[in-house]
């Protein structure tokens, strides 16, 4: 196995590590990094995780590869059962989904996400795809793991979303407690620059990739950056984790989430930057 690895692989591993063993976990469609992360978690540290596929609702499948679309039969491979659409959403609505992954074209400091539109609502500059089931699921799912591969663009982490599709910890309408939402909201955010937690319901930088420093994160972040007392360097993937990423996603579908510059970011298993 090539011990040199790239950012996309590391991010998938970091996302996988947010999953606890025994959790019931769901990724949305069109979310290859989250999808890879779930299959990696299930095959490494979280064998008792209940893995629900993002658009087939297959239960614990073991696909031979990840296709470029989420509603594909290849994602039923090895699944003992395929849930109904209804069953997945009801599971989420009644609080029995422990974790879901969410991303966004815009993400604000409270973890609110926008996957609906950039610009005005009647004639948006960019009509994004839409939120799928996130608008309701985000209210009731136990914990949210947020990710973005576009933090470095400077346009993704914003002070205020043009449109809030999925609620984080607080919107102009109120906090989760005020709105009576039983779900815990964003617990972790993994980006192409580093990792965040949400200690007071607001994103706080806690860890960095070895090729990124706090100033770079600050420069790419559209809101005032909160930083943990001790910002640490991320722990690199273990050999087993890395092998599993490659096994789960042999065709590198995860890479479609990244720009070419980020795909060139490479590391060694000691967590050092690798020279190309």
């Amino acid at each position: 196995m090539n011990p040199r690895f790239t950012l996309d692989e590391w991010m998938c591993v970091e996302l996988a590590r947010t999953i606890g063993d025994g959790e019931i976990v769901f990724h949305g469609f069109g979310s290859p990094c989250a999808q890879v992360a779930m299959h990696v978690a299930k095959r490494t540290h979280a064998p008792h995780m209940v893995l629900i596929e993002g658009a087939t609702y297959a239960l614990d499948p073991v696909p031979a590869f990840l296709p470029p679309t989420s509603n594909d039969w290849s994602l039923l491979t090895g699944a003992p059962h395929v849930l109904r659409f209804e069953e997945l959403f009801d599971l989420g609505a009644r609080g029995d989904l422990d974790r879901m992954f969410l991303s966004g074209g815009q993400i604000d400091p409270y973890g609110n996400t926008n996957v609906s539109m950039i610009g005005p609502r009647d004639r948006p500059k960019v009509k994004l795809g839409g939120g799928g089931g996130g608008c309701n699921l985000s209210a009731t799912v136990g914990a949210l793991t947020i990710w973005t591969t576009r933090h470095g663009s400077g346009r993704t982490l914003v002070q205020r979303c043009d449109f809030i599709t999925d609620m984080g910890h607080r919107t102009p309408a109120g906090s989760r407690t005020e709105l009576g939402f039983p779900g815990g909201g964003p617990e972790a955010m993994i980006t192409d620059l580093g990792a965040f937690d949400f200690p007071e319901g607001r994103a706080r930088l806690t860890r960095l990739y070895p090729d990124v420093d706090v100033e770079a994160v600050r420069g790419a972040t559209g809101f005032e950056l909160e930083v943990a007392d001790r910002v640490q360097t991320m722990t690199p993937p273990t050999e087993a984790e890395l092998r599993t990423v490659r096994e789960v996603d042999p065709t590198g579908v995860r890479r479609s989430e990244f720009g070419s510059a980020d795909l060139a970011r490479a590391y060694t298993l000691h967590g050092e930057v690798a020279v190309a």
């Binding site: 469609f29 069109g30 979310s31 290859p32 658009a55 087939t56 609702y57 297959a58 031979a64 590869f65 296709p67 470029p68 679309t69 989420s70 509603n71 594909d72 039969w73 290849s74 395929v82 109904r84 659409f85 209804e86 959403f89 989420g92 609505a93 609906s116 539109m117 609502r121 009647d122 004639r123 948006p124 500059k125 960019v126 009509k127 994004l128 795809g129 839409g130 939120g131 799928g132 089931g133 608008c135 309701n136 985000s138 209210a139 009731t140 449109f163 809030i164 599709t165 999925d166 919107t171 109120g174 989760r176 709105l179 009576g180 939402f181 042999p250 065709t251 579908v253 479609s256 989430e257």
Partner: protein
């Protein structure tokens, strides 16, 4: 005593007649989702017939809605998502129409739509929903209302029933009575069939009642108004276990849909006059190739490359 359409003995008809059950301005529920089992033969026939002002509702969709928008057949989009995932990204016709204000955006959430369909199915004048209250999706829907739970005092959103005028579904098998067999994932197909006023079905193959029953009836005949045999009726989306999705053709649409001219050319090339022409244009060899997905995971990957 009259025999209602839905209990008639024989629901078989041609694609033009079936698509004729969709009227301009109808609320239309489109089955399948993303790249999977969308009723594309019906979508193409609606385009051929020049349908206008449709109000489409449903969960996550792709080329079906984007083509209908490209054909200027849609007035209102009430979907939870329209696009091509990481595969090809944003839906080009949708994005452009939205930016020009050419379609009304009533973006919704899979779960809200599910609950609205259920309200229709249960004969309820409203059903409460919890999550929307934290989302700007709320502001795209003046038809929702706030309500207080009589037990907990909690603020909830009351959503009205959603009974689509017509559901368009592509299944695997149907008998002449209208019993339809579909395989999971069903997405919202079952709920669409139960909640809609009319149900129009295309299938890969008409079969005997015995065969449909043995395979499993997903939609019982008394819900169905019309069934049409439409082989490759989901192309270019997948219809497993028969064929995988035609990624190359979807790419061709994405390229064409970059501008009005491309869209016109695409429709000219592929649509008129009928599905035989469409299949000819795609080509027998290309279609047959899509059926080879199950030879090995490697072969499957190859088809998707």
């Amino acid at each position: 005593m009259t025999v209602r359409r839905r209990t008639a003995d024989d629901k078989r008809c041609g694609l033009p007649e079936a698509a004729g059950l969709v009227a301009d301005g109808d609320v239309v529920a489109i089955g399948g989702g993303l790249s999977h089992r969308e009723p594309m033969a019906l979508v193409r026939e609606l385009i051929r017939q020049g349908r206008r002002d449709l109000h489409v509702v449903g969960s996550a969709h792709g080329i079906d809605v984007d083509q209908l928008i490209g054909a200027e057949a849609i007035g209102v989009v009430e979907q939870s998502y329209v696009g091509f995932e990481q595969d090809f990204g944003l839906a080009p016709a949708y994005r452009r129409a939205a930016g020009q204000g050419a379609v009304q955006l009533r973006e919704s959430c899979c779960y809200t739509i599910l609950q609205q369909l259920r309200a229709a199915e249960y004969g309820l004048p409203f059903i409460p929903v919890r999550g929307i209250i934290g989302s700007d999706v709320l502001h795209l829907h003046p038809e929702y209302s706030e309500i207080t739970c009589p037990f907990t005092g909690q603020r909830l959103i009351a959503v009205p029933p959603l009974a689509p005028d017509v559901a368009l579904i592509h299944g695997l098998l149907a008998d002449q009575h209208g019993n339809v067999h579909v395989r999971r994932p069903l997405v919202l197909d079952e709920r669409f069939a139960f909640a809609s006023r009319r149900v129009v079905v295309t299938v890969e193959r008409l079969a005997s009642s015995q065969e449909v029953s043995a395979a499993g009836v997903t939609i019982p005949y008394f819900l169905v108004d019309a069934v049409v045999e439409a082989p490759y009726g989901a192309h270019p989306t997948s219809c497993y276990p028969h064929y995988t999705y035609d990624r190359e053709h979807i790419a061709a649409w994405i390229a064409a849909a970059a501008g009005d001219e491309g869209i016109r050319e695409y429709f000219e090339t592929y649509l008129a006059p009928d599905e035989c022409h469409y299949r000819d244009q795609i080509g027998e060899a290309a279609l047959a190739r899509l059926r080879t997905f199950d030879e090995s995971p490697e072969r499957w990957q190859e088809l998707m490359a």
